[in-house]
């Protein structure tokens, strides 16, 4: 029923990270270990912690100077995402309930205070909307809009907006924004919920939804949310 999603997302992420890391993370902790998924996660050494706490955060390398993300590499936009949500994700990466070797390495190296600080930093940022390289065609947009606003009774899927707020703008403390998010990232997140590699959703709320969506639905709904430019709301 729930065949594991192909791991291309993680590989693409890792590959780009290798390319991107050296410039931004020249002085940072163990980039080689971070970039190798199979490697044992780096220990939270004092040196690593100190580096992570430095003024130029390692996040920028992938998430961008303004938190705009890197869509093609499945790196999410985090600018303006709620601090509670970002902090929880860092905690979950460190705890392993959200499976991502690269983020796990960074998160483990950070103290609770540092995680809270980074979360607050990106929550306060704003970044311009980045249009998709290949915008979805009309029929996919329509299906995505239907899933976002209405859901699908035949599949017993409720509207995304029921939790993620009007047009996916997010509900601070409770649910992240989806509007303007990278479609590639959203798709990899849905697939991770679906195949169980991401299980940091209380009550399996996201898994319950993701496992009822097929590839076409995932493409449609993620394409739809990526097309929403919040600055025009």
């Amino acid at each position: 029923m729930n065949a594991p999603a192909p791991p291309f997302a993680r590989f693409a992420f890792s590959f780009l990270l290798i390319a991107a890391l050296p410039c931004a993370l020249a002085a940072s902790a163990t980039p080689a270990a971070a970039a190798t998924p199979a490697a044992k996660p780096a220990a939270a050494t004092p040196a690593a912690s100190a580096a992570a706490a430095a003024a130029a955060p390692p996040c920028e390398a992938c998430h961008g100077a303004h938190g705009e993300g890197m869509a093609a590499a499945h790196v999410p936009r985090i600018a303006g995402q709620s601090a509670d949500y970002l902090k929880k994700q860092l905690d979950d990466y460190a705890a392993g309930t959200r499976d991502n070797p690269i983020m796990a390495n960074f998160a483990k190296a950070l103290s609770q205070q540092q995680r809270a600080k980074f979360a607050a930093r990106y929550a306060a940022m704003s970044a311009r909307y980045i249009p998709q390289v290949k915008p979805p065609i009309a029929v996919h947009l329509a299906r995505g809009h239907q899933l976002a606003f209405q859901g699908d009774e035949a599949k017993r899927v409720q509207a995304c907006n029921a939790c993620h707020g009007p047009d996916g703008v997010g509900v601070p403390h409770a649910a992240p924004y989806l509007a303007g998010q990278s479609a590639e990232f959203l798709a990899s997140a849905l697939k991770a919920f679906k195949d169980g590699t991401r299980k940091n959703d209380a009550g399996e709320l996201m898994r319950s939804v993701a496992e009822r969506l097929d590839d076409a639905d995932i493409a449609a709904v993620t394409g739809y949310f990526a097309s929403v430019d919040l600055s025009t709301h």
Partner: protein, 589 residues
């Protein structure tokens, strides 16, 4: 002139919880079943989706999901000497309409009654003597026992996926559950919901007083669940919009989320919505039903012949259906004779508000309809009533269901009712108050009953139902006693001010209390004091079954839905294994 339709095996009147379950079982057994629903078809998608469903003005204040009382009102009076007037705004109780029925807007509190409740008259006589009660009290035994119903309670809870903690499995007391409950055959299908902060405070305080707190059994689920029908539900997100609302998350167990997908896929079943049943038709002997007459949404009149008629409408509407059809002798309070409309009862609800300083933050909006913690130490016959002058009791619990902005604003007595002073008090107390519910039993009493109103008629020209009800003295005494116990728990929580509001008479229909109307078509062993036999079959017309909370001879200390689900499966068992194999009386009169 009514258009006569092709005969079917079974007509079900009202496609709510009971109707859906009965229709599903009989259609699956191969019978041709037609379900007649007066309201509209509606499903989780699109009808129940937010933000539209989170409209407090539309659903809470204007009662969008309820029976249309501009077309089909009820009239009310406290006593027989008064003139009853139509209830123009639903307030005290909220009968639903539409596919899925009233269950669509329920809170999901899923209780069993206790073994003693089903033999209340016998038990009271044995324990307290035959002169203990007010002579006007007309409580009676149900004609079924808890042991009869246990497998059916179990089946209903597993249909819903109810989240709870057993307190007694096959006689073994389970830590953390309700030690007063009657033995259950196994634990709940899913673990309890997360406890909200008020519940945690209550648990600690009630425990310190030697009581036995436990998590409320909830059919807003704690985790995803696939029921035995193969239908899958999600976990509840604690959005705080349960009671009076439909759930957009497939997380509240209602017909749409537990059984309708299976029923509607069965070609033996046909759903017809917008169909207002006028009466059950009888042949010239008046002892056999030939079907029903209904009017559709555009005013066409149809006669639907059927071999078996099951009325499964909301409690008070079941009473009216029998009265309009001439089935069973109407009750006359002057003589005490007759049965239809007799033993109408309710629920005796009291509250306690515990006000704290601003450092205690409770976040009341973060709730499901059935999250919370309670005790049964003062419910039912779980304590000695000798010398108290009443029977029955109430569960006491911090079972707060919501903190919605229009309706929820606890303020202490003495607060101005409007203006600046009121607004300041609302802001001050909104997030720092713990509300308890004292959910009390209701005895049936000679003067309380339902009949057809002599004056008012519905949109189709038929007499509406008239309710005559006031709180019996027994229940006023009970409310005072139990509320005082609840105040002690509030004090043990360390509240700055604890305000108990025991229910007092007269009963008013202009203040919300609960939608737990019971009685009027009660079940029993004696046709002189019951409308249906122990299998919910009409004594007078054996091919009519009546299923609803209208079957309860009196109401117990808990929400009635769990018991109604058990009675539904109990009646289905009798229908499938007894009646339909050999139609006729299941109990000789």
């Amino acid at each position: 002139m009514a258009q006569r339709l092709k005969e079917v095996d079974v007509v079900v009147i009202g496609v709510g919880m009971v109707g859906s379950i009965v229709a599903k079982e009989l259609a699956a057994a191969g019978y041709k079943v037609v379900g007649l629903e007066r309201g509209q078809t509606r499903f989780t998608v699109p009808e129940f989706q937010s933000p539209a469903v989170h409209d407090e003005l539309r659903f809470d204040i204007r009662k969008a999901l309820m029976q249309d009382n501009t077309r089909e009102p009820v009239t009310f009076r406290n006593q027989g000497a008064q003139v009853a007037l139509p209830v123009r705004r639903w307030e005290s109780f909220l009968p639903g309409t539409g596919l899925g029925g009233s269950m669509v807007h329920w809170n999901g509190q899923t209780y069993r009654f206790q073994a003693t409740d089903f033999q209340l008259a016998t038990r009271t006589r044995e324990r307290y003597g035959k002169n203990f009660l007010d002579p006007d009290v007309t409580i009676q035994d149900w004609g079924v026992t808890y042991d009869d119903l246990e497998p059916h309670y179990d089946r209903f809870e597993y249909l819903l996926g109810t989240s709870g903690k057993a307190g007694n499995i096959k006689g073994r007391i389970q830590a953390g559950g309700d030690p007063h409950e009657s033995p259950r055959s196994r634990d709940y299908p899913t673990p309890p919901q997360k406890e909200h902060f008020q519940g945690a405070m209550f648990r600690k305080a009630a425990g310190s007083l030697g009581y036995h707190p436990f998590p409320q059994p909830s059919s807003n689920l704690s985790q995803p669940y696939t029921n035995p029908e193969g239908v899958k539900l999600n976990a509840c997100v604690f959005c705080g919009f349960c009671e009076r609302y439909a759930c957009e998350h497939y997380a509240k167990s209602v017909p749409q989320t537990v059984i309708l997908p299976v029923l509607l896929a069965n070609p033996n079943f046909e759903l017809r919505t917008g169909c207002q049943v006028q009466r059950i038709n009888l042949d010239s002997t008046k002892k056999h039903a030939t079907g029903v007459t209904y009017i559709d949404a555009v005013g066409r009149v149809f006669e639907q012949p059927a071999s078996l008629v099951i009325t499964s409408t909301f409690a008070i509407n079941n009473i009216r259906m029998l009265l309009l059809s001439g089935i069973g002798k109407p009750y006359d309070p002057a003589t005490g004779h007759g049965v239809v409309g007799r033993n109408y009862a309710y629920q005796t609800m009291s509250t306690v508000a515990s006000f704290f300083d601003e450092d205690v933050i409770v976040n009341p909006f973060m709730a499901s309809g059935a999250s919370g913690t309670l005790i049964n130490d003062f419910a039912g016959d779980n304590f000695d009533h000798s010398g108290l002058g009443f029977i029955g009791g109430a569960f006491i619990g911090a079972v707060n269901t919501n903190g919605r902005p229009i309706q929820y604003h606890p303020v202490p007595p003495g607060t101005p009712a409007w203006g600046k002073g009121w607004k300041q008090a609302v802001v001050k107390h909104y997030n720092h108050t713990v509300m308890f519910s004292c959910h009390g039993s209701s005895v049936s009493q000679r003067q309380n009953y339902c009949d057809l109103d002599p004056t008012y008629r519905d949109a189709w020209g038929q007499p509406v139902l008239r309710i005559t009800f006031d709180f019996p003295p027994n229940d006023i005494k009970m409310a005072a006693y139990v509320t005082a116990k609840a105040v002690e728990i509030g004090k043990a929580m360390g509240a700055k001010q604890v305000v108990g509001s025991p229910r007092k008479g007269p009963y008013t229909v202009t203040q919300y209390q609960t939608t737990h109307n019971t009685g009027g078509t009660v079940m029993g062993d004696d046709p002189k004091t019951s409308v249906v036999n122990r299998y919910l079959q009409s004594w007078d017309v054996p091919n009519v079954f009546v299923i609803g909370a209208s079957n309860y001879p009196q109401n117990a200390s808990w929400n009635p839905t769990g018991t109604l689900g058990a009675l539904t499966y109990w009646a289905i068992d009798a229908l499938k294994n007894k009646y339909l194999k050999s139609p006729g009386r299941l109990v000789s009169a």
